[in-house]
Amino acid sequence: MMQTYHQIARGDTLLAVDHVSLSFGGVKAITDVSFDIRKGEIRAIIGPNGAGKTSMLNVINGFYHPQKGQITFKGLTRSRMRPSVAASQGIARTFQNVALFKGMSTLDNIMAGRTLKMHRNFFWQCLRHGPAMDEEIKHREFVEDIIDFLEIQAIRKVPVGKLPYGLQKRVELGRALAMEPDLLLLDEPMAGMNLEEKEDMSRFIVDVNQQYGTTIALIEHDMGVVMDLSDRVVVLEYGHKLADGTPDDVKANEDVIKAYLGVAH
């Protein structure tokens, strides 16, 4: 599908969430939340368990359809969209629980991220020669660049099911990067990692942001990581927006302290 978008400059709004509400039956997951993500920034979404963070990401990439409100991505407003459309518009994501093809190699998993960029039809793909091969080589080169970038050369041919968790997370990031996304959604990229793996992952996130200029929205529980990495933070609690601002603002916000640390009764 070919659509033209406004050219968005660094620092302008890439994605705007406008008064979005989402409920499952009687359960209100998100209530009237608005915030924006600017091009080139690292935006963190934080909040206690059940605050609606992952639901928010699911709304952004079209997996859930909000009952109220709308989302504007690259100047196009929408209220309903399928994940595949979101993907073709340039939104990629990783998942809280690693969602890779366990039996496939690292290389094949990341190549899968290029699927949307392949244009040759089924016939040529079957032939495995001519234009489809040329295309494949071009994509392979791109993928090898990512492998090099994430320093996972040693596991290129290893089935991902055999890899330790930290590396699987890295492969998942690689697959998301293969889509050359404009907006990268990371759902708890560091959950369950040890300190060293967290440090590696933080470095990769910053590198992705700086080298490829990718805008990143991430959910993370490790406050140290969030405050170090992100340019701006939005705080959710029970589906409501509690605070929004720079890490320092958020840290000083009394509501946030209350939500996170609790108050004496």
Binding site: R140, E141, A154, R156
Partner: protein
């Protein structure tokens, strides 16, 4: 064998003229092996040399080379040598503090480094290096935002040089003159020793001696342009510079650089080198991993593996040595080659190895014969940076695990009264850089070099046996000889023991620190339902202690058969609560133990070993990889072992 060309750049030009289309260098990049022929390399090196010249590198200047085995870093050495400048390879994993000594001592004018990590390191010590004018980098990731006027990419330099050469024919002639006028007596490279005993020293090697030595060994092992090696050992180590760089240029063979340090094993398999060099440690790790994987295999596979390994043990070495074996043995071995040895060698990347060497440490006899029995022609050599490597080397047909072989071609050796080995070799060094005093100490008046190693020639075979560092060989109060390394090596032949440090000089009996091997012991623990959370916990486990005690007693039994060494049996030992680590200064960068430092750091434990207590407390400071410091404290148990009386010869046989 003598070479007409007296410097490495001259050899490079010869190779480009003689075998311009043959591969000279390979590097795996983006998953594909990229190849440069000798003419490609000659062209790039010339451009690079011009680029360096334009930035002010002159005859006699030094340039540091810091990083892993990557083509551009090898080209840096060649390009510098074209100008008569001297490359100084530096261990890439040394921390800034260690690096500063070398860079300061060498007075480097430029530094060619691999990546951001090394750039950061060099810039962090820049203010102490007034001579340093340019930092060149190979791999630009993360460096885009660096606003540093003295930072340049190697590509930029090569392109600049190429353009200059294209533009101005005068420079081509000037460069040719520089290459042709290079003299063999000039210093070709400075290799810093790893500093097992104190500060490292810059060993100056002259071009013609390097080339003479390499010519000798190329002829000795019949290496030619069809050979192939994988360059994966540190650039700064004499082994890499000799085996790959010098021999490669002399013989014209192809050197392959691995994709990254983690992929060496896969790269080895893909390249299939014909000449292979590794310290015993590498062979040991490979074997440990093979064995662990076999433990996890299904029962029929295990049976097949062990049956044929047993057959190989019985006949393999004999077949390799050309000795006679029964016809049935021959057949069984041939079957094993199809079923087990061939595939195993393929997995390890040894299928095409024609000559393999191991050196640097003693190798366990079992380990050594394991590889030989598979049909891999593994040999030993003894050498030193100061010798530009070979002092002794085992020729085909005279291979043994317990000696380092007879003298290498054109080498002279004599022993002092105290047993120290002195040598004169074709590649021997010219002197230590900016350290006339040390040079004087090391060179005897009649031109021999002191190795600092104690050894003796075995009368019947003429092979040299190395016991230990001469200054480490001590005496117990009883007067018995105390050669720590000799015993430590025997201990380290057990896969469960990674490192051992002996004490005893001037004491009544011998005691020992042990480091367990986490891979081997961890696997044992898994199979025996021993649960542990950390190295420290596993090291202190009673079952582990019992196992190690058995190993120590076995070692004592072996020692009791050797009249010279029987006094050095270990009476008490303990297992250290942490692994000895180069970052903490306990090991050198080449992973050798620094005895003096360890004795100081763990003084309370040594006292406890000698005062008869059963337990001791210790707190040590550790430095994490990112430079932060922490402390580990532990209570360490001490165990006594049985000492065996000197056994008679009959028993030993």
């Amino acid at each position: 064998m003598q070479s007409q060309e007296k410097t490495f750049p001259q050899l490079l030009m010869r190779n480009a003229a003689l075998r311009g289309d043959r591969p000279a260098l390979r590097h795996k990049y983006l998953g594909i092996w990229q190849t440069w022929t000798w003419s490609d390399v000659a062209e790039i090196v010339r451009s690079y040399a011009q680029g360096l010249y334009d930035r002010g590198l002159r005859h006699g200047d030094t340039i540091a080379v810091i990083g892993a085995n990557r083509p551009k870093l090898y080209w840096t050495m060649m390009a510098a040598q074209c100008l008569g400048a001297i490359p100084v390879p530096v261990y890439a994993d040394s921390v800034a503090d260690e690096m500063i000594f070398v860079l300061e001592n060498a007075g480097v004018k430029m530094a060619a480094v691999q990546d951001q990590e090394q750039v950061d390191k060099v810039f962090s010590i820049m203010d102490r290096l007034p001579d340093l004018q340019w930092v060149l980098y190979d791999w630009g990731r993360g460096l885009r935002d660096y606003d540093e006027p003295r930072l340049l990419s190697i590509d930029q330099l090569i392109d600049g040089g190429r353009e200059h050469l294209d533009r101005d024919p005068q420079t081509i002639k000037q460069l040719d003159d520089m290459i042709l006028s290079g003299r063999g007596t000039e210093i070709s490279v400075i290799l810093y020793t790893s500093g097992t005993t104190g500060r490292s020293k810059g060993v100056m090697l002259s071009a013609e001696r390097c080339i003479d030595a390499a010519c000798d060994s190329v002829a000795f092992d019949k290496l030619n342009e069809n050979d192939q090696v994988l360059a994966y050992l540190p650039l700064a180590w004499v082994g890499d510079h000799y085996m790959n760089y010098a021999q490669g240029l002399v013989a014209g063979f192809c050197m392959a650089c691995p994709e990254s340090a983690d992929t060496v094993e896969q790269d080895l398999r893909e390249i299939g080198p014909t000449f292979y060099f590794a310290p015993p440690r590498v062979f040991e790790n490979l074997l440990t991993r093979v064995m662990i994987r076999m433990e996890d295999a299904s029962a029929p596979k295990r049976w097949l593996f062990h049956t044929f390994i047993e057959i190989a043990r019985r006949y393999g070495e004999k077949i390799l040595n050309g000795q006679s074996v029964p016809f049935s043995g021959f057949l069984l071995y041939a079957l094993g080659e199809i079923l087990i040895y061939g595939p195993l060698k393929n997995v390890l990347g040894f299928t095409r190895v024609r000559v393999g060497y191991t050196a640097g440490e003693a190798i366990g006899p079992k380990l050594f014969s394991f590889y030989r029995s598979l049909g891999i022609n593994l040999k030993q050599l003894y050498g030193q940076t100061e010798a530009f490597l070979y002092v002794t080397v085992q020729p085909d047909g005279e291979i043994r695990a317990d000696t380092v072989g007879p003298l290498a071609p054109h080498v002279e050796v004599k022993l002092t009264e105290s047993g120290e080995v002195l040598f004169k070799s074709p590649g021997m060094f010219v002197g230590y850089f900016r350290d006339a005093e040390k040079t004087h100490e090391t060179m005897t008046e009649d031109g021999f070099v002191r190795t600092g190693d104690a050894g003796f020639f075995e009368p019947e075979s003429g092979h040299l046996k190395i016991i230990d560092r001469a200054k480490d060989v001590g005496k117990l109060t009883s007067g018995a000889l105390f050669p720590p390394k000799y015993v430590e090596n025997k201990l380290k032949f057990f896969p469960n023991i990674k490192e051992a440090v002996l004490f005893g000089d001037g004491h009544d009996f011998v005691t020992c620190f042990i480091n367990i091997d986490l891979t081997a012991v961890g696997n044992w623990a898994e199979r025996n339902n021993v649960s542990y959370a950390s190295y420290q916990e596993l090291a202190g486990h009673p079952d582990v202690y019992a196992m190690i005690a058995a190993h120590v007693e076995d070692t004592n039994r072996i020692l009791s058969y050797e009249p010279m060494m029987a006094g050095a049996q270990i009476k008490r030992f303990l297992i250290l609560h942490k692994e000895l680590d180069a970052d903490d200064g306990e090991l050198t960068r080449t992973q050798k133990v620094r005895r003096g430092f360890i004795a100081e750091r763990y003084a309370p434990l040594i006292t406890a070993l000698y005062d008869g207590t059963q337990e001791a407390d210790i707190t040590t400071e550790v430095i994490f990889e990112d430079g932060r410091k922490g402390a580990i404290s532990a209570r360490v148990k001490i165990v006594e072992c049985e000492i065996f009386p000197l056994a008679t010869k009959e028993k030993a046989a």
